[in-house]
Amino acid sequence: MSVTAPITLSARNLIRRFGQREVIHGVSLELRHGEVLGLLGHNGAGKSTTLQMLTGALLPHSGQIEICGFDLTRQPQNAKAQTGFLPETPPLYREMSVNDFLIFAAKLHRVPRAQIADALTETKRRCGLQDSGKKIIGTLSKGYQQRVGIAQAIIHQPEVIILDEPTVGLDPSQIRDIRTLIRELGNMHSVILSTHLLGEVESICDRVEIMHHGRLIYGDSSTKMQQYGSQPGFIVTLLAPPALSVLQAIAEVQQVDQLSATQFRILHAANTNPSAALLALAAQHGWQAEQLVPLRTRLEDVFMQITQDEKL
């Protein structure tokens, strides 16, 4: 994903009330072509509501949504033709067969009649539904229903794909398949997905927005998020280590802690990286460097830290 990729979805200052209670307080989002954005948050943080507003299923009380240059309230049909949506509960007609349902979804999203057959085979291939075409949706397992739900959202090749908790209720191998699929989709379209699974963000999202009580409180690339609030550094294993002071003396190293006979934790400033220098020295002096692992905080900790910070 490059910064110059065109913006496919932009939402400004979305406000949504349920009755008197305001649940979304001025959310702004931007999504570029070829980007996977993860919307992270506790249950009830307003993720689903936000996503529903982005698809036009709910109208915001104020704020603007633009999809591929079309305003969602002024030109709803043009804007909606560019989006595919998988809600929390996949919207499946249980009594229809997979083929019939997907053809209906394709027609509904204005796929030209002549291209429907191709779109159907291609979508079924991508979602691993080749052998389920004639099955009745109600008889499929949860995992397969979820796949049909995703197929329904991508059959018309939309620019923006919106997935609300796409991997909930799936078994680990299905989760892996669906994540691969989402990653693949993210290269050609833009994807926005909500989740409360941090592993999902780690493995598929380019960028993360954290939502808390109807506000976006943190947004950055997912790699940056992992470094949030932690000192950059790495753990190096040297089978024939030198004295501690020798390591300390390497340029840009701020602190060295010996963890075991052969393991050292080395901390450095954010914008520098002494690992190359250290490895060069190791090769030169025969310290037998075995592995070098960057320090990573667990995403759970980061998430907790960010949402805690907000409360204070």
Binding site: L58, Q77, K80, L92, M96
Partner: protein, 247 residues
């Protein structure tokens, strides 16, 4: 878009076994009633023949049959309209339509047409049954056509009202009972009204069907059905739009 949705509604009716069961049972009831009327007609035919300007088979057999169909449609239509929106809302499939590039107008009119196609099938099958009389006697085509038109318009007004009730709730059963109660209420208004109390009678679709039933094509009745359908379809569209704002 309208046709896509109508086609889907029409087809999804036929994948449910109960639809076939209802179709079969209806046909049985209609045939039973038709044969009973025919039998009664044949018994009194010799006496009728002595009258000047005696009622023909169409008036004596077909018209009462259509009157019965009108009554049965009243009880039948809520069973079908309850699914249209309430069930979609309960199964959360309404989101698919709401987030698709179709307007509320397309959704409502599509569903309306889909169910009307199905009801046309029922009405047409009754027409065919009545047309078998043509083998033995001369039929009054005008009376048959006004009756058919009346039935279609009556069904349309019931569907429009049922669709609106269905859009008010997320429970199909509530939608069915609600629609049935209102249909019955309207029917009771018609049967209980004193003959000269025209204002109350004018509210009931069944009373407007009466003139079609006796072969009268009255523009007032036509307008009533058109306005009735349009009003409730517009209300349903409005309700779906409000769904995006308040739900």
């Amino acid at each position: 878009m309208i046709l896509t949705i109508a086609h889907k509604e029409f087809r999804s009716l036929f994948v449910i076994p109960s639809t076939w069961l209802i179709l079969g049972a209806l046909q049985f009831i209609f045939a039973w009633f038709f044969l009973a009327r025919l039998d009664a007609f044949l018994q009194v035919q010799s006496q009728l023949a002595q009258l000047a300007n005696a009622p023909g088979a169409t008036l004596a057999v077909a018209a009462p049959l259509f009157g019965t169909i009108a009554l049965i449609l009243m009880m039948l239509i809520p069973i079908f309209t309850m699914r249209l929106i309430a069930e979609e809302r309960r199964n959360q499939t309404l989101t698919l339509l709401m987030s698709a590039p179709v307007s509320d107008y397309h959704i409502v009119v599509g569903k309306f047409i889909g169910l009307m196609l199905f009801l046309l099938l029922i009405i047409a099958s009754c027409m065919l049954m009545v047309l078998t009389l043509a083998a033995g006697t001369q039929l009054d085509a005008g009376l048959l056509l006004t009756n058919a038109l009346g039935l279609v318009l009556l069904a349309a007004s019931y569907v429009a009202l049922g669709l609106y009730i269905s859009s008010l709730t997320a429970q199909p059963v509530v939608a069915a009972i609600g629609a049935l109660a209102i249909f019955f209420g309207l029917w009771l208004v018609e049967v209980s009204a004193v003959d000269n109390d025209n204002t109350w009678r004018a509210l009931a679709p069944t009373s407007h069907f009466q003139s079609f039933n006796i072969g009268l094509l009255n523009s007032t009745d036509l307008m009533f059905f058109l306005l009735f359908c349009t009003a409730f379809l517009l209300l349903t569209i409005r309700r779906l739009h409000n769904n995006r704002i308040y739900s």
